[in-house]
Subunit: 539 residues, 2 copies
């Protein structure tokens, strides 16, 4: 599994990994008001805190251990003993990994910002094996870090200390697929791209698609409630997932792998686990509804004179394209300058304050092209759009998508990047960028906004020559407070994990955080499942 | 509120209500194996069991009190006192209803099969008022029955004993609607049809539609996780609901009324309350995503030579109609005979073993008509369909829908009806009907199958001249066991309520039922919210 994570990400991401350390930028400020010394003092005094490994990886600088960088204290879990290893060996023979080199890639997140020091990784093949492992760990008070493809953005998929890594990599079997209903049932460790291929051969598609699809596991996608590129069209996993099998902290197997679109027999328990990041149970199998494969895909790339026009174009396109609209993305002029400057990508339309990428997916190519073309005629004629281009062949479609998808890469080449991923009411979405630009002035090189406008999801990025505490002070908590002021979400699609657990209060009231703690205590009373994650440390 | 329930249902339903007593048919068998005497003995011995009211309603026979018909025992809640009424009067002045005539319609379900004997109904206008009421009831140990439009099918919306009825009828304000995103925020007591009109004027539609839309409240829709006519296209409420405000049993207001498509800041708590039928909290306000209003709607009505062809036609139509498909309903030949015989509705196509109704909703009439017409050409040419008709004008569309929608009415005119609403894998969906038909033989007049094939939802109905214990013995638990054998759901869209709580074990494993009980105990430790409902009595 591990080589996948490394090999399937494009080369530029490695450069970006080295340049970008969002954890440091975000956390330093968040914890600026806390008394740091005692926490740092405590960390490292226990017998269990591990030393830096002697990894000789030459591709990037060594990642600092999480407990060295962040003020986090190991909880009093047991330490894995030789007897434990022998017991695991009996449960999953030949699939108990203790070699430090092999463990390295599972101890470090793919952004190379956080790092645990687990001494053992287990590779069960079945839910029963997961059940036996968790029952044992629960009795022994051993902490467990469930891990899928390790592609998370918030440090949720790697251990913080020495948690046992429970990998779903070998739970990769498709259980069934129904050609009529489009319902796929599979184990949690299936790689998203492989599932996509599986169902596409049968004229369906997966209801979600992600940049990390070559590595991420479907179980991990569900555990983090992944958004991604098909969200606008096919909606949330809370709607498309039909059933789950979950192993609870004490080893209980909670069966619920129904292949039914409708089931109103009591509480919809599976919903609890979607987005709970492995802290309430380990998802071991999934039943999910796949939409029919579209026969035609088109992409339009447009220039808009202002953000008001971006919004009006969205309204217009929802009306005229309706059921075939599958993406509505936007980027500002500075984004285009960055991809032009750093990646030599040329804009296919004349220079504009804003750009919009619209994708359609439908069942009749000529109908879709006609709809798009009529729509373009109207928005060009009314001045909402000043210039535009339409792609129907695969090569040009990819080129247009690259302008939007490679913004992250261009940013990483621009210097140190402060990254935010927020949900906001669409009409205020860009105000945050404008106001922040005015606020930080010359402290920043660029303040840019882009993202999934159709989902109300803004990616706000600020670049500077190097990390600057004074710039950070201007950004945080301002960005979070501004977002909270609009009743927005400080984590739109990336989740909470280790890195965002202490900013939840900006988006959730105390009563909700309290209920989260109560649910955690109910389902995992010893707190062994993915500790130090998802829940605020001081709720 | 109450007159709505009565006046907005069509006349035939009243006839049906009188003829159909599903509770009796289902429950008698379910509890046949239990020792009934002690339970019946206990009921009625307490000081709180109420006598039959002296209702003089002339439209239907008086409904038997629930605790007289079913073996249910009142739990030791407090009894509403004069001091309590005075306290309520201070909380919701002028909105404390104690008049027995006014209470009557809220004590009886709309199917007229169950009946409570509540002495007081409260009509709060705000979440704060609901909070004060629940805090008080929690302290006083008073049981509460949240009630929306009282249109539920399983006895979940009326009291079983003397629970206080907490009506959402006056919580009927639209809070906001965003013309760009289509996000509606409103109070829980808004009537679905009124919300539909509100958003349709702004070129959107509600993501759900129901026969009861003229009476049902959006809060009740969510509390029961209503399915309905738009489910195939717009999916589950678990996907379309963006936020909820809920008042917990102890009066805590759990705010979560976000208007965001994406929010990954921790556990998605709202999901707990969708489908929990008011047993975990009272939904007081809702944020929901509305799809754009389709500009064109078409309906095709087809005859198929067998159920295999019904399935193949579904596959074919998903491929060729794709994104514009909005309904795929089926009915068997006996259904058509019944609507012909009892309602004088003529089939628009030649006699066939099965009929299919297909609806499309799209943004370009000519495109949709062309897709449908090409699809019809193919299925007719390949023999999947033997005859068909296509409607594009509103009048004919309604006439075609009537054939499907009025089956229930025709059944009620055929005699005593045993009704089942199950989810099954589509490929086995009709086998249950065939096998049951063979099993019951001449004991039944008709055994018919119809329903939302696109959602895997079968409505299985059996008619007889009159109620027959021997026929019931052939039907149950056979239908439930058969459904469980296919990993189906014994309640597809109607929920659990009072009537189905003891058959959940057919669709949910013991671990799931146990977790349901744990969640109930966590969120409502005194069990005051909608008691005697949703959770198995003996789990």
């Amino acid at each position: 599994m591990v080589p996948h994570v490394v090999s399937r990400w494009p080369v530029w991401l490695f450069r970006w990994r080295a340049a970008y350390t969002p954890g440091a930028s975000v956390r330093q400020k968040t914890w600026a008001g806390m008394s740091r010394a005692p926490l740092w003092g405590i960390v490292g005094t226990g017998p269990l805190v591990c030393r830096h490994s002697s990894s000789t990886s030459s591709r990037a600088p060594e990642v600092m251990l999480t407990h060295k960088r962040y003020p986090v204290q190991r909880l009093p879990f047991s330490v894995v003993s030789e007897e434990d290893l022998a017991a695991f060996e009996r449960m999953v023979p030949g699939r108990v990994i203790t070699d430090p080199e092999e463990l390295e890639a599972s101890n470090v997140d793919w952004l190379r910002t956080v790092r645990g020091c687990s001494k053992v990784l287990l590779r069960p093949r079945t839910s029963e094996e997961v059940s036996r492992i968790l029952r044992y760990c629960h009795e022994r008070n051993l902490a467990v870090n469930p891990q899928g493809g390790n592609t998370g953005m918030v440090g949720g998929s790697v251990p913080v200390f020495d948690e046992i890594i429970l990998s779903t990599a070998l739970m990769n079997q498709v259980i069934s697929f129904h050609d009529v209903s489009g319902i796929l049932v599979c184990q949690a460790g299936c790689v998203l791209e492989e599932l996509s291929l599986h169902v596409e051969q049968r004229d369906f598609i997966m209801p979600l698609d992600l940049g990390a699809k070559g590595s991420c596991h479907i179980g991990g996608n569900l555990a983090t409630n992944a958004g991604g590129l098909r969200f606008l069209r096919y909606g949330s996993l809370h709607g498309t997932v039909l059933g789950l099998e979950v192993v609870l902290a004490d080893g209980t197997i909670l069966g619920g792998l129904t292949s039914l679109r409708k089931d109103n027999t009591g509480y919809d328990l599976k919903q609890l686990f979607i987005g709970s990041e492995g802290t309430l149970g380990v998802i071991t199998a999934v039943s999910i509804l796949c939409p029919p494969k579209p026969k035609a895909v088109n992409v339009a790339f447009l220039g808009c004179p202002g953000f008001a026009e971006v919004l009006q174009t969205f309204s217009s396109c929802k009306g005229m394209l309706g059921e075939i609209l599958s993406a509505y993305e936007f980027m500002d002029a500075e984004c285009m300058q960055l991809v032009g400057h750093h990646l030599q990508l040329a804009s296919p339309v004349q220079e504009s304050p804003f750009y919009v990428l619209i994708e359609t997916s439908g069942s009749r190519a000529e109908h879709d092209a006609e709809k798009l073309s009529n729509f373009l005629e109207q928005v060009l004629g009314s001045g909402l759009v000043t210039d535009g281009t339409l792609a129907t062949d695969q090569r040009k479609i990819k080129a247009l998508w690259a302008l939007r998808e490679r913004i992250t890469e261009a940013l990483s080449l621009d210097g140190y990047v402060y990254k935010y991923d927020v949900s906001l009411p669409v009409e205020r979405l860009y105000d945050l960028v404008t106001e922040l630009r005015a606020r930080v002035g010359p402290l920043a090189k660029h303040v840019v906004g882009y993202g999934h406008l159709g989902d109300g999801n803004l990616h706000l990025n600020v670049t500077a020559e190097a990390f600057s505490a004074s710039l950070l002070g201007e950004l945080e908590p301002y960005v979070y407070e501004w977002t909270a002021g609009q009743q927005g979400s400080v984590s739109a699609e990336h989740g909470v994990g280790f890195k965002k657990k202490d900013i939840l209060g900006y988006s959730k009231p105390p009563e909700a955080l309290h209920l989260m703690q109560q649910l955690k205590a109910l389902l995992d009373p010893k707190g062994i499942l993915n500790p130090y994650k998802t829940l605020p440390s001081r709720a």
